[in-house]
Subunit: 211 residues, 2 copies
Amino acid sequence: MRQATSTKETILESAIYLFNTKGFDGVSIRDIAQKARINPANIAYYFNNKQGLLEACLVAFFEPYLSFLEMEVRNLDHSAPDLCLKKAVKNILQFQSEHHLLTRFVWREISLDSQVVREIISSYLMKERFLFKEIIDQLVNSEKYSPSSKSFLIIQLKGMLAMPYLNSQYLREVWNLYPQEAYFATRYFQVIEQWIKDTMTESINAKKILC
Amino acid sequence: MRQATSTKETILESAIYLFNTKGFDGVSIRDIAQKARINPANIAYYFNNKQGLLEACLVAFFEPYLSFLEMEVRNLDHSAPDLCLKKAVKNILQFQSEHHLLTRFVWREISLDSQVVREIISSYLMKERFLFKEIIDQLVNSEKYSPSSKSFLIIQLKGMLAMPYLNSQYLREVWNLYPQEAYFATRYFQVIEQWIKDTMTESINAKKILC
């Protein structure tokens, strides 16, 4: 059993590494088998084909990712919404740092205009939208933020969350920053925390003006 | 001459469209020729090979993109730094909306860990860093923002600028927003303008505390 898990994980890790250097379509099952030092038949056994590998990556990313948001939506009952959002952001950044290669592959792959992406959108990303909205609605419930403004806040936040992981080579070579390291997640969290604070202040100020 | 430009542009447009749906490595010269309804020899004539097409895309994107930043760095001599940054952001968003397919392809492609990307980083993205730093240094010259904080501000801004264009299918299907339309650039500009204002206020408040 231990052996099985390990082979499966080795295949996934090798696949993600290659997808990030050559692109999903630039990698064959044979390339992955060679990199993982296993027989190609093993890949067929565990994942069927390349499509199966892609699906396994998406599940491995989105299941934990959405669970961080779900947890904080439940916490809204007894915690302040800004604390819930900060907690979700912290967990997402930490998870993305720990799985930076997977994160990079997933966020890049869903920027394609394909059938697979349409399916991910209609399952995972519609759920993500719902969860983010639950939190943001409670965070910025002033008149200033119309429903359309709130969608822009979520888009802005999503851009911030994904950027360093999607562009880790850029961060490393241009800014000497390493998104896979724990200190990065901590430091970058402070940047987003400031943004949440500013956004809330805006909301409170807008309320004061209305009163 | 008119005909030549037109064939070249048709090839580029067809290539970008296909790269965005199937990924760069999932598209052959034959696919592009078929989509553009031209002879594959024409592609070889204008772009040599797929690598040549990629380079043409990068030049078509980064030359105007960097010129917007260069223009505002020059304007720093006689304009307020926040106005310069806002102007650069406005021009970049407008350009990205007008060339949304090219934008999407370029920002996705540079998230790969490849030799081509290393070359783009050492030319275009190091220049981009220099230009952003020139503006940001004048915008947030308070003690609160250490050089490392400033790099995080630029990373945050870059994430915001690219996100909707990189994920235009997501924006369309989840939020019913169309980044290729002019109203989107205008509306999204306001969101980033607010961020610039908040960041500046932070900087001014930090200064007041220090005085």
